[in-house]
């Protein structure tokens, strides 16, 4: 309990800079699970996710004396995770300018911007059930950086502002990533629903 409090105390940045073991431990305890989960969300298997988490905290401890506290410590740690993922996986390049999903989305509308192929699928309640069953499969088919942005947003519930800082992208870029990954997941679920 005291560690949860420590993470919110105003002297935390200074204690992190001093590499105070109690402060460092509090950070590990506060974010280890989230880091592993985010790495899994980005497509790593459990062993890889643990390795990346360990590397993330190793770098956090190494760079702790440079932590200025201008952004939240979580933003700092997740930023390190993102760079570790980029090192570990080539798929983590910045989002491409062109993506097939953009054309797929465009093709569902008329020239005047009305739906020509409205969203299909079961009613809301059934869709929710279906989505829970198939989301894992559909996530696997999405590009890794889009998955990470999506995981930060939906699973960890971070603000778009914080995710922009972590991924070092503009709000517009993040918007494009989220719109692409969500449409990709929605299309995937729709296809699965129609095939069954």
């Amino acid at each position: 309990m005291s560690q949860t409090l420590l993470i919110d105390k105003p002297d935390l940045p200074a204690r992190i800079r001093d590499r105070d073991p109690e402060a460092l431990t509090a950070v590990v305890d506060a974010y280890l699970d989230q880091i592993v989960r985010a790495a899994r969300g980005a497509g790593l298997d459990p062993a890889q996710a643990e390795e990346v988490a360990q590397n993330t905290f190793a770098t956090f401890i190494e760079t702790a004396p440079r932590f200025e506290g201008r952004s939240h410590v979580r933003t700092w740690v997740f930023g390190i995770l993102y760079r570790k993922l980029q090192e570990a996986r080539r798929g983590f390049a910045k989002d491409r300018r062109m993506d097939d999903i953009d054309d797929a989305f465009e093709s569902r509308f008329t020239e005047t911007g009305s739906w020509s192929q409205p969203p299909r699928g079961p009613d809301d309640q059934l869709f929710a059930k279906e989505a829970r069953k198939e989301i894992g499969d559909c996530l696997e088919a999405a590009p890794e950086n889009q998955r990470l942005a999506f995981t930060f947003r939906e699973v960890e519930g971070l603000s778009t502002r914080e995710i922009c800082k972590i991924l070092d992208v503009s709000a517009t870029n993040l918007g494009v990533m989220l719109y692409r990954v969500r449409n990709r997941l929605r299309d995937c679920l729709e296809t699965k629903w129609e095939a069954s």
Binding site: R40, F105, S159, T160, L178, R182
Partner: protein
């Protein structure tokens, strides 16, 4: 206020653009959703996908043993205390 098309509304919803939008912009989208069942369905599906992802990851808690091992490995890698004290701050 310009009339928004379904394409604009759904793009705004999927890109989370409304989070930073003004009250009137959010209101315009809400009104569109009230009137347009296709966009309403789209918005609901996008919501459900987020909920499904939350559940999906929530249902896979870390194995407590491996988590303990990982935590110890990290905590044991901390620099020794005395080194910190002798570290001159510039």
């Amino acid at each position: 206020m310009a009339i928004q098309t379904c394409k604009e509304v759904s793009r705004k919803i999927a890109s989370d653009e409304l989070c930073g939008a003004s009250w009137s912009q959010r209101m315009a989208v809400k009104l569109h959703l009230l009137m347009c069942r296709h966009c309403r369905r789209y918005a609901n599906q996008i919501d459900q996908i987020g909920e499904a992802a939350k559940d999906f990851f929530g249902d896979q808690p870390a194995d407590p043993e491996s988590r303990k091992r990982l935590r110890s490995a990290i905590v044991e890698s901390f620099p020794p205390d005395d080194q910190n004290d002798s570290d001159p701050r510039v």
